[in-house]
């Protein structure tokens, strides 16, 4: 890992030193940058994006750079930095980067700004629509079938629209198999506080919750820990495949193949075929899927597994539309 970091830090130096005359025209270098709202060691949302950036470097030969932003003021600042340095493609990894992209993008028309899970589109602004709701709906079906208390829970970091949409779909999926299921939704107010994640999970377990769908990045590790210690609840992970984090309590994960998603966009941008739009990514493009934990598959009734498969087929065919809850429109 140390070598990789060194390589990252040296990448710009090396490419100018070794590339020599070939890279004399700066526009010929494919430069891709990534802003993440949290640490890339979260094994989830941010880690996936960083893995995608590495894949773009390895597969497309791009020169890459990553910055972790802390405050909204830094969103603008770092977008501007990358625009000024002539980056071809800049990912703002999250819904929250949209306003900054809108403000900065007009000043750097040669740079394409993509906000993952954003819905804003402009001449050089694009979004990605991760269809969380489809896979979350399937996860809800699994939870509804697995709960013995009839109470299931959701724990989120903050109430971002994609998180709300995902929780609403989860609830709808659970109701499909168990109409009287009770769903408790809690938010931590941040994405780092592992202790708060654990305590919130313990509080839900204390109220009879026995399946928890977590979408809280690093703080979500506390949810797994609570389930592991009490053995009174199963967890469904989010964003990355978290089945291995605590195999004894994780039923499955709503996996966004973020590396795959970033690659899809980067490949188009490199080929010059990219048109600014909201790129739809879901079950169909194999980007958002429900991955069950094989170790606990026996916990889920076979009829439900079959049901999940058939609903998945209907979702793919567009015969079922998952309720997205209420998403506020994004205003510039």
């Amino acid at each position: 890992m140390r070598l990789r970091h060194l390589a990252l830090a040296l990448a710009p130096v090396l490419s100018t030193a070794c590339g020599g005359a070939k890279d004399a025209a700066p526009s010929s270098t494919f430069k891709v940058a990534l802003l993440t709202p949290g640490p890339i060691s979260d094994q989830s949302w941010n880690g996936g994006a960083y893995a995608g950036l590495q894949r773009i470097k390895d597969s497309l030969g791009a020169q890459v750079s990553h910055i972790q932003t802390k405050t909204p003021a830094e969103f603008d600042e770092n977008f501007r930095q990358y625009g000024a340095q002539g980056y071809t493609l800049v990912f703002g990894h999250g819904f929250e980067y949209q306003d900054a992209a809108l403000r900065v993008a007009p000043q750097f028309p040669k740079t394409i700004f993509v906000t993952t899970s954003g819905t804003t589109v402009g001449p050089n602004i694009a979004g990605m629509n991760f269809a969380f709701e489809e896979a979350s709906y399937l996860a809800g079906m699994v939870a509804g079938a697995t709960t013995s208390t009839g109470t299931i829970g959701c724990i989120g970091g903050t109430e971002l629209p994609p998180v709300k949409v995902s929780f609403a779909a989860f609830e709808a999926g659970a109701r499909r198999v168990r109409p009287d299921v009770k769903v408790v939704v809690s938010y931590l107010g941040n994405w780092d506080d592992v202790g708060a994640g654990k305590e919130q999970a313990l509080a839900q377990i204390g109220r009879g919750v026995d399946v928890i769908f977590q979408n809280a990045d690093a703080a979500g590790l506390g949810v797994f820990q609570a389930a592991r210690e009490t053995r009174k609840a199963f967890v469904i992970g989010s964003n990355a495949n978290q089945n291995g984090v605590a195999p004894e309590v994780v039923l499955g994960s709503v996996v966004i193949d973020i590396p795959h998603a970033l690659m899809l966009v980067a490949r188009e941008v490199k080929a010059g075929t990219f048109t600014p739009r909201v790129v739809p990514l879901g079950l169909k493009s194999d980007v958002v899927t429900l991955v069950l934990n094989d170790a606990l598959r026996a916990r889920i009734p076979a009829a439900v597994l079959a049901g999940v498969d058939s609903v998945k087929g209907e979702l793919l065919a567009g015969r079922i539309v998952v309720p997205r809850g209420t998403t506020p429109p994004v205003t510039p």
Partner: protein
């Protein structure tokens, strides 16, 4: 919950027990950090870098517990917190730099430094849930008490240590010569120096001891609660602890009670959200801070900060 339902009362008792347990767990790291800050501030140094010490302790706990178990983890967390505090003391006491600015730098160093080391040593994949944890140790007899038993007498050993530290610290500050000298340094350093007290050394020692307790707070987070490390997992506890010192009127008993108040308010917030009330969750998240502010307002006028707090001269 139907009050007529005979099971309702048991549910209520369970909820109360869960609430108290959560309150004590949440309060433990805050109590360590707040007592540590009390020592430093009594000596006239406000260590705003406490958040950094908590992070340093958390990371130290991760590294050492992986190699040497829970005990080594706690010891290393205290050493890591003390080390960062020693750097702070060197700047503030020896070189006379501004306490607030230096402390802010230490917080940034603690947050950024642990994050950088974490990624270097553990890779972008992180440590997941690989840290051994200290399980609860039930006090024979007392842990069987209804409602309060599990909350107060079935906790990890560090919680008892935090409770034990309260009278020990009180005794040290108010009943020993060294404690008197330490308080004198915080009130009137010139007078203390004239009386033959080695003010600079005492301030340094107080800051380092405070940092060690801050580190122990981080160790508690990792080893007694989360079972893992995450960048920024202190999540502002260091700053909350500094507020708790004010709430506790620079007294160890006050600091411990303040930590309990904040812990209880946080636990209440968890409980209310788990009840499934459909109110904006931000209201509940703000609850601990609102209650702490309220308590602070009520405690107004009782006790005062050490007279030389924050002043460069030692």
């Amino acid at each position: 919950m139907d009050p007529q339902d005979p099971g309702g009362r048991r549910l209520m008792a369970d909820a109360l027990t869960g609430f108290l347990e959560a309150a004590v767990r949440t309060a433990t790291p805050l109590a360590f950090a707040a007592m540590g800050e009390t020592i430093a501030e009594r000596a006239g140094v406000i260590n705003v870098g406490l958040e950094g010490c908590v992070m340093a302790g958390a990371f130290g706990a991760l590294v050492a517990a992986g190699a040497g178990g829970v005990g080594a983890g706690f010891a290393t967390s205290a050493v890591a917190g003390a080390a960062l505090a020693a750097l702070f003391a060197l700047c503030v006491v020896r070189l006379g730099t501004d306490q607030i600015i230096t402390g802010t730098a230490m917080t940034l160093l603690g947050l950024g430094g642990t994050g950088a080391l974490y990624r270097t040593w553990y890779g972008a994949g992180g440590a997941a849930l690989s840290v051994p944890t200290a399980g609860p140790m039930a006090v024979p007899g007392l842990s069987k008490l209804p409602v309060v038993g599990p909350a107060f007498f079935s906790q990890p050993v560090v919680t008892y240590l935090a409770a034990l530290l309260v009278p020990v610290l009180w005794w040290f500050l108010y009943r020993t010569h060294a404690g008197l000298a330490l308080r004198a340094v915080g009130e009137a350093p010139e007078a203390a120096r004239a009386a033959g007290v080695a003010t600079a050394r005492l301030r340094t020692l107080a800051v380092v001891a405070g940092g060690a307790l801050g580190g122990l707070a981080g160790g508690t987070l990792v080893l007694a609660q989360a079972g893992t490390f995450a960048e920024g997992m202190s999540a502002g506890r260091g700053f909350v602890a500094i507020a708790i010192v004010v709430l506790g009127r620079w007294h160890p008993v006050g600091a411990a009670l303040g930590a309990l108040v904040f812990g209880a308010a946080t636990a209440l917030q968890f409980l209310i959200q788990a009840m499934g009330w459909t109110l904006p969750y931000q209201l509940f998240l703000a609850l601990p801070y609102v209650l702490t502010l309220g308590a602070l307002a009520l405690a107004r006028g009782r006790g005062r900060p050490p007279a030389a707090l924050g002043q460069a001269s030692g």
